[in-house]
Symmetry: C2
Subunit: 337 residues, 2 copies
């Protein structure tokens, strides 16, 4: 199926390149975990914070080990007593010039803390700051998820907490092909949803658990930043403590439903909105088959499904309806602030 602004061949080639980083990532992780360490800390901001979010949520299902996700801007001014040179630090910035990330990594280095992670190539300012930088040319979210999971789940494997690592990682070889099928399945819905809702003055989104990161990312980093579409994102639990009162046939509510233990909270929102607004859109990862991937890994892959169908496909269809280029910014990265 031809999909607007989607070059399948290039996508699959990029996917192969990203998958090929597996060995390099595992080597870095294996060296780090062979030494003494007492915590793990991921530094992110905006989109990268949101991408690390599910990786850490997944990790917490398998371990009690201290794993921190720090917002890079808040990291600069917050207390950092919980971190030390025994912490394994990772970060990522495809552009390699995100101000908050650079500041946070510099601060780490001034404390003698090494930071590992990813950027697009050796020319970026971040590449110069990272220890053993790993170059990932494609900054799309599912690529990020895959390499972040390689980091996090390999750490857990080495701790004896995710012995199924190799089986999972082997199955990920096909994830990009599977995500093409996911896109193809969603494409007619993407076109229809965007046509119906792209001009709405205000749209509510709910999500939870492993999928909260994508709920945050799609609303803030895509619809608000790239489409100037006004949104409200709220967790499925909190929806019932305020936002529900706004709902009627004038308010579109997108309900993102996942497959982890938070699912009953999402389904509660689904039941509510189906009764109280005609403008409900239900996005359920369970509707998408993941061929060749074991069911026990579906939760791990669920943010990849959401990013493929919303952050990528739905965004492109919003653009088609709003006429507002996804590339255009008036403030973000346009000047210092």
């Amino acid at each position: 199926m031809a999909m607007r602004n989607f070059k399948m061949e290039k996508y699959l080639q990029d996917g192969e390149k990203t998958y090929a980083l597996r060995g390099e990532i595992e080597k870095v992780v294996d060296e780090l975990t062979a030494k003494e360490y007492d915590s793990v800390c991921m530094l992110g901001i905006g989109g990268t914070w949101a991408e690390w979010y599910p990786v850490i949520e997944v990790a917490k299902k398998y371990t009690d080990f201290p794993i921190y996700l720090e917002n890079a801007a808040e990291f600069m001014i917050k207390d950092r007593r919980h971190l030390s040179d025994k912490t394994l630090f990772f970060t990522s910035s495809a552009s390699g010039d995100t101000k908050e990330i650079l500041d946070a990594v510099k601060l780490c280095k001034s404390n003698g803390w090494k930071v590992y992670g990813f950027t697009k190539d050796a020319t970026t300012p971040l590449a110069e700051l990272l220890t053993n930088p790993i170059y990932n040319a494609c900054g799309d979210c599912e690529h990020s998820y895959l390499i972040y999971y390689f980091v996090m789940l390999r750490i857990l494997k080495n701790r004896g907490e995710f012995p199924q690592y190799d089986r999972w990682a082997d199955q990920m070889k096909n994830i990009f092909k599977v995500l093409v099928q996911v896109r193809e399945q969603f494409e007619p819905q993407a076109a229809e949803i965007a046509k119906t809702y792209a001009h709405e003055p205000y749209t509510m989104f709910t999500g939870s658990g492993v999928l909260w990161g994508e709920t945050y990312l799609f609303t803030m980093c895509i619809l608000e930043e790239m489409q100037w579409v006004r949104t409200k994102a709220v967790t499925s639990a909190d929806f019932f403590h305020g936002p529900l009162e706004l709902v009627d046939d004038r308010v579109p509510v997108f309900v993102i439903i996942g497959e982890d233990e938070y699912r009953p909270l999402d389904e509660r929102v689904e039941r509510f909105v189906k009764k109280h607004t005609k403008k409900h859109v239900i996005i359920d990862t369970k509707d998408f088959a993941l061929e060749g991937i074991d069911d026990e890994f579906r939760v791990i892959c669920s943010p990849m499904i959401i990013t493929a169908i919303l952050t990528e496909r739905l965004a492109i269809h919003y653009e088609l309806n709003t006429g507002h280029s996804l590339e255009f910014r008036r403030y973000y990265r346009q000047f210092a602030y």
Copy 2:
């Protein structure tokens, strides 16, 4: 000064009653901390979650001890390995019939975990579930803050981590009088702000650190739930990763500025919005004197300032302009969902 829907005499009497709970709370805490315990967990949902939020943020400035804030709905389905019968559990529900709180307390009790805390009187369902329930007739936020701080800061005192507890608690005797002065100072602004913005179709709020709880509470539990006013609340750090692109002269942005270490992040938003929208409203706790209260306790009191001026005074002026009763709900607590 006469203020609409504000009965000063009753307010000060209620304040005295709340302050009078100090001895009872200290006694419960002293008994609990005399025994072995290895963590503290506060259970909240919606408004109560938001009220516990700053109390825990403040506590973390003084201690590395494990203190958890759990969303009561998520608590039901989440992993709870970090909690045990060595955890001190507290909760609160003025009405005493908040579904998620009752479910969470029942779950604790089924695990043999005692839960302490607050409700309005002995007749509520929560009163029957709590161990040594403490009755706080007035559920207004600043009253809640005071009693939650009595709990949390007394725990820290008993751990040797907040030796200034008695001086702080003694000074709180006058907090309600001080919060009348704060209200009086803000009253003309409240009238003006509500007149200008109450009919806006979409209003953005930023906040951070200790004041994030109030940013969440005022937007979700007041403006959305009680006024059906559409909002977007975002942390000062995250504002720069998406929401900023929405800002122009059509979008009101309320910038809540606090006095903890997050202040530079708030001030960054202030500088941005002053340049990019005429509709900026700056709410800075520093503008309010706290007579008779030491400067080192200002951060502790800062959510009380915000709740007095926004959640209480500004809400009343919104109501005056929208004509939408603060008491009216169409869904919340109207039927099961």
